[in-house]
Symmetry: C2
Subunit: 152 residues, 2 copies
DNA sequence: TTAAATGCAAAGAATTTGCATAACA
DNA sequence: TGTTATGCAAATTCTTTGCATTTAA
């Protein structure tokens, strides 16, 4: 229970562009370093889900000296600012993506296939959870596991 | 992607008692050892969710020499046989419980509170997932995170 | 008497941290 | 010029594995 907060405050300005994100960093007393810029560039360059290690690889293609631990620290910071979000698709490393493209995940336990699903898929569950338990679900952090069409 | 299979074959005999579970072990060429018996006793003694380390503690209260790695190996084996199941409630260690009492989990990201919810809570989502993606959900492995009534 | 299980130590994967140095603002 | 960030190495946490030995059947 001692890592990043997956919370994304509702009043947080959304970072739609790389420059927006850097502005957010500045506003919170952070500094615009080249590792931050390059990491954000990698994140904005593709909509995919990538592990810290994959991102470090992309970053290091630009600047080989940027260390994995720096990538982790920057991802933490960007997550605190609401720019990125991480999720878990199974055992193994977490994956990171831009908060502006949050959505649910179905992951096949058999073949590992990832299906991105609209949040609306969880509306019914959200309503029930609130009605019966007063619980507000956040369906993004953990994937919903199961079997994909091919593996059923 | 290289650990236990969370799959619980539908045709698997359910182990309702400690002796049933041991019988299953025997049927699959396994041996009834004291560590297995003691571990199963701990699992059946309470309906709770416990980490491997917590279970090891309980087991070691009976037999101090039983090693944590033995507990992990036995939990793996029992999971393969469909007797126990593990789930993840957040970052941190997995928790184990009897497969006969599977249910969904809501975990509060703020205070950590665990709410056990009936599987039927996921019926709507299951139906939609199947209809729209041919995906069969298994809502047990990962908890559904969110905010509990008190923390909302 | 032999295949399966154990204890122990060590490795492994993912992530975090301490600390001296570097570099934004 | 004073934080804030970085590189690097080392530590942490959770889990798995190799191997010599023990044990159940």
């Amino acid at each position: 229970m001692s890592r990043r907060s997956p919370t994304q405050p509702a009043d947080q300005a959304e970072a739609a562009t790389l420059e927006d994100a850097l502005e957010l960093v500045r506003q919170h007393g952070g500094r615009v370093t080249s590792s931050r810029r390059i990491l954000l560039h990698a994140l904005f360059a593709s909509q995919g889900h990538r592990t810290a290690e994959e991102l470090a690889g992309e970053v290091q293609a630009e600047a080989p000296d940027i260390h994995l631990s720096t990538v982790y620290r920057n991802l933490d910071e960007l997550e605190r600012l609401g720019v990125v979000v991480h999720s878990h698709f199974g055992h193994g490393p977490a994956t990171y993506h831009l908060a502006s493209s949050v959505h649910g995940h179905f992951v096949c336990e058999e073949c590992g296939r990832l299906t991105e699903v609209p949040d609306s898929m969880f509306d019914g569950l959200a309503k029930q959870a609130r009605a019966r338990f007063g619980f507000t679900i956040d369906p993004h952090h953990f994937a919903m596991l199961g079997r994909c069409a091919d593996c059923t």
